[in-house]
Amino acid sequence: MSSLDQQHLDHLDQLEAQSIYILREARVRLKRLGLLWSLGKDSNVLIWLCRKAFLGELPFPVAHLDTGLEFPESYEFRDRYTKEWGLNLIKDECPPIEMTDPTLPPGTRVAARKSLGLAAALEKYQFDGLITGIRRDEQATRAKERIFSPRGLDGSWQAANQPPEFWDQFTIERAPGTHMRVHPLLAWTELDVWRYIQREEIPLVPLYFAKDGKRFRSLGEIGITFPVDSNASTIEEIIEELENTRTPERAGRSMDHEAEDAFERLRTTGYL
């Protein structure tokens, strides 16, 4: 074996190091940070990276925006790893569907409850910065995001007027009354996430693994997230499957497909 001197940093090492850099930058520049934990694979990776970045601790609260519509396996997972990882968990209930914009398509309205829950959490906990696990390869409007993404007074995303971001110089200071979204996983792909989960042995909600020919590729609420046909019941099989699939990751998410601009409308008004 060659010594570490000779070894090249591999792709996952590079992604990990860059995400840690972003997390530490967020911590030193933003006072009140929170992390949004969807209980899904990406935000689990995020928590894992935070614990590396902050030398074993998670020095800010983790918020699960609860719609009451998660799968039972997800709640079980949440309660177990809140303890195991020593998380400071916020689990406030999202406002009911009646409070969402009635002009949105039905599936999108369910997701919009999360936006309202998010707005309420921002108000209540006065976060300066919210760390989320979105990735560019998930969805075409997310692909346009910045790593540090300023939000307007109403939490809105100014898609057409984003600040420059280069050489790891981020616009981090924010206007009073607004918050920053921080996106440490923006450069990761779905496959990167799975390979990292495999390498680091990161625990997951079991719904990701195939049972009776079906598995969840993207995990969301009951009623608006659907399993895909798959026999991949191990991480190795999932990676194998993803290396060969042509189905997009969020095919099982109804809100992405109800109208051309449905997802963009959700996002500009504060959704992840």
Partner: protein, 641 residues
């Protein structure tokens, strides 16, 4: 303690079936003038390499026809409604695909001048570029500007795509004309296109399949050209640099965290910390791989602790002993400007060089570049999208590397307030600028310290009073000064607020400037103490780093005094109305309110002004000074009363 040990999967137990290693995608940016077909090219490339996810083509077809268009390939990238409605790209985006050879991430950039900031955002992440040029319209304004920016961003591997050849009857002459013009321009920037490919993005000619219409072209298709690109060179063999991002504490150990930008480091390495040049020895390295790490290299985020009690702060650069970055008060930079409000001589900016922030002023424009022809432009201001060579001056020394030596520590963002408005590569220290490092020979004083002290009847020394604003530092210093003076002592007060009106009036409150403030005060206090005076310094000095820096400069005779009062007590006193202003958000970075105060861990003296009245704490301070600095009577000198 190595908490990460529990996180990292044990390497030794890697699965028997070793997983296929993920290869880093090669990042390619597509640039060029508005409407020359960048997004179309990417859409077509993705389609022709069979990389589009299922259903995507149908979706594009649908949204195109909803707008009365034939299939618009650019809609794959231009996902925002406003982009589709206006038919232009506003912001940069990324999309992944792979060839048999390797994976790629393709970065789309907008060509419209107004969105240059987004082009820079995209291109800064690339290792190579495709410069798209419309065969009909030829080299245009943003073709040149983008080419110039590529050279500043260090993206020097450039493939030129001469697009829309279908509009020119696929004629070789049209391609040749663009080829000559682009090559001549790039040559003036010291670049050379790797390939100049005639193609038609809309129709898929020479993208992945060789064009039937352009048999005269012998070179590679776009896809072949991408696969021919050489991978970027590694950065581990360059000189070691780790800019400090933050300082973490674990127990009594302090760790500098940051990313290693270049080079390697191992346990026991001797380093120097720029700009102060403090020496230190690496005691531990933690990159999250578990216990017993010996070594780290470029690209890794690391936490490093040292054997010595080094003063660590964000913005410093850790370098190998003897290989510090350069230090200068004025830099020559080549800058690009993104703000709508032009840059003028005398404009104030923040230079953000890795994690350091320096307040700088534009001293002069050495030249403003006319991007059309690369001659000097006849103007006194740098407008949006402009490029210029500028001298920037700072009050505190800037640690940097010339960008041709080490690109990462040789470039910086330029900010107005908190907004990033430009970028710059560092050409070097400005000539005639006072160099910080120079051959200096110290001159010895004609009167030695003992002689001063014998005459004064007391030793020289520095009482460093730290504490929150309003804790009583100045009151105590002034009170003690008066009493000791009346007893015949030589005693001086260096007050932080007063010094900021004169000696330090050029400094603000960023971490780097606080460090420079403390450095100067400590140097002055040291000179005075060497000349036999007792120096009372009253300075907030909120962090252990700052106080340790002062202690290391002053050396013997340094007394750390903590003037202690909690923030509520101080805010209630608020003699200068500062707490009220800070709470209203009128003062940023106010210690105790919006910036931390680290209580001294082991001060030489604590004066608790929350607990005791001024008379008592003044007595305690005077008693401490007498006990430590008075020469006793046996030496034949009066001690004072």
């Amino acid at each position: 303690m190595a908490p990460a040990a529990t996180l990292a999967a044990p390497r030794a137990e890697a699965p028997v079936l070793a997983p296929r290693k993920a290869q880093a995608p090669y990042p390619i940016v597509i640039v060029g003038h508005v409407d020359h077909g960048k997004s179309t090219l990417i859409g077509r490339l993705l389609h022709d390499t069979d990389s589009l996810p299922e259903g995507r083509l149908a979706e594009l077809q649908k949204v195109s026809s909803q707008r009365g268009l034939e299939l618009e390939w650019s809609f794959l990238l231009d996902a925002l409604q406003i982009e589709r409605d206006q038919g232009i790209t506003l912001d940069t985006t990324r999309i992944w695909f792979k060839t048999a050879k390797r994976p790629y991430v393709i970065i789309d950039a907008p060509g419209h001048r107004e969105f240059l900031r987004n082009m820079v955002t995209g291109a800064s992440g690339a290792d190579a570029a495709v410069l798209v040029t419309d065969a009909e319209r030829g080299v245009s304004e943003q073709t040149r500007r983008h080419a110039y920016l590529l050279s500043l961003l260090g993206v020097t591997k450039v493939i030129v795509a001469v697009n829309k050849m279908d509009l020119m009857g696929h004629a070789e002459a049209a391609w040749q004309a663009v080829k000559d013009e682009v090559s001549a321009y790039l040559a003036k920037l010291g670049m050379q296109p790797l390939y100049v490919i005639p193609l038609s993005a809309r129709h898929g000619d020479n993208i992945t399949a060789r064009s039937q219409q352009m048999g005269w072209y012998q070179g590679p298709t776009l896809l072949e050209a991408l696969d021919l690109l050489t991978p970027p060179a590694g950065r581990a063999d360059a000189t070691f640099r780790m800019p400090i991002q933050d300082v973490y504490r674990r127990g009594d150990r302090r760790m500098a965290v940051g990313r290693i930008e270049t080079g390697r480091i191992r346990l026991g390495d001797k380093v120097e910390i720029a700009p102060t040049g403090q020496p230190a020895t690496v005691a531990s390295i933690d990159t999250g791989r578990g216990d017993g790490e010996q070594f780290a290299r470029a690209g890794q985020s690391a936490a490093i602790s040292f054997i010595e009690d080094a003063a660590l702060a964000r913005g410093q650069i850790i370098a190998p002993a003897g290989h510090m970055p350069h230090l200068a008060l004025a830099l020559r930079v080549r800058a690009f400007w993104l703000d709508s409000e032009p840059l003028l001589v005398g404009s104030r900016l923040t230079l953000r060089l890795t994690t350091a922030e320096h307040a700088v002023v534009v001293e002069k424009f050495e030249r403003i570049v006319d991007v059309e022809n690369l001659n000097d432009a006849d103007t006194q201001e740098l407008g949006q999208g402009g490029i210029a060579e500028i001298v920037l001056r700072s009050a505190a020394p800037i640690a940097f590397d010339p960008h041709t030596d080490l690109p990462i520590t040789g470039r910086a963002g330029l900010a107005r307030g908190t907004r990033i408005v430009g970028g710059a590569v560092v050409l070097g220290a400005a000539e005639n600028a006072a160099s910080v490092k120079g051959p200096v020979t110290a001159v010895d004083s004609s009167v030695d310290r003992d002689a001063f002290e014998a005459r004064n009847g007391h030793r020289g020394g520095v009482l460093w009073l730290s504490g929150l604003s309003g804790a009583g530092k100045s009151t105590l210093a002034m009170g003690a000064q008066r009493r000791l003076f009346d007893d015949g002592w030589r005693v001086l007060v260096l007050d932080g607020d007063n010094l900021r009106k004169g000696l330090n009036k050029d400094l603000g409150f960023s971490p780097a400037e606080r460090l420079e403030n403390v450095r100067r005060v400590a140097e002055v206090a040291k000179l005075m103490a060497e000349n036999g005076s007792v120096v009372l310094v009253s300075l907030i000095s909120p962090t252990a780093e700052l106080r340790e820096l002062a202690r290391s400069i002053v050396g013997d005779g340094f007394h750390e005094v903590w003037v202690k009062a909690d923030v509520n007590t101080c805010a209630k006193r608020d003699p200068k109305g500062l707490y009220a202003a800070a709470r209203d958000g009128k003062i940023a970075q106010f210690t105790g309110v919006s910036a931390p105060f680290e209580a001294p861990a082991s001060p030489d003296l604590v004066l608790d002004t929350g607990e005791f009245d001024v008379a008592t704490t003044t007595e305690l301070l005077i008693a401490h000074i007498r006990r430590n600095l008075a020469l006793d009577q046996a030496d034949g000198h009066a001690v004072g009363i």
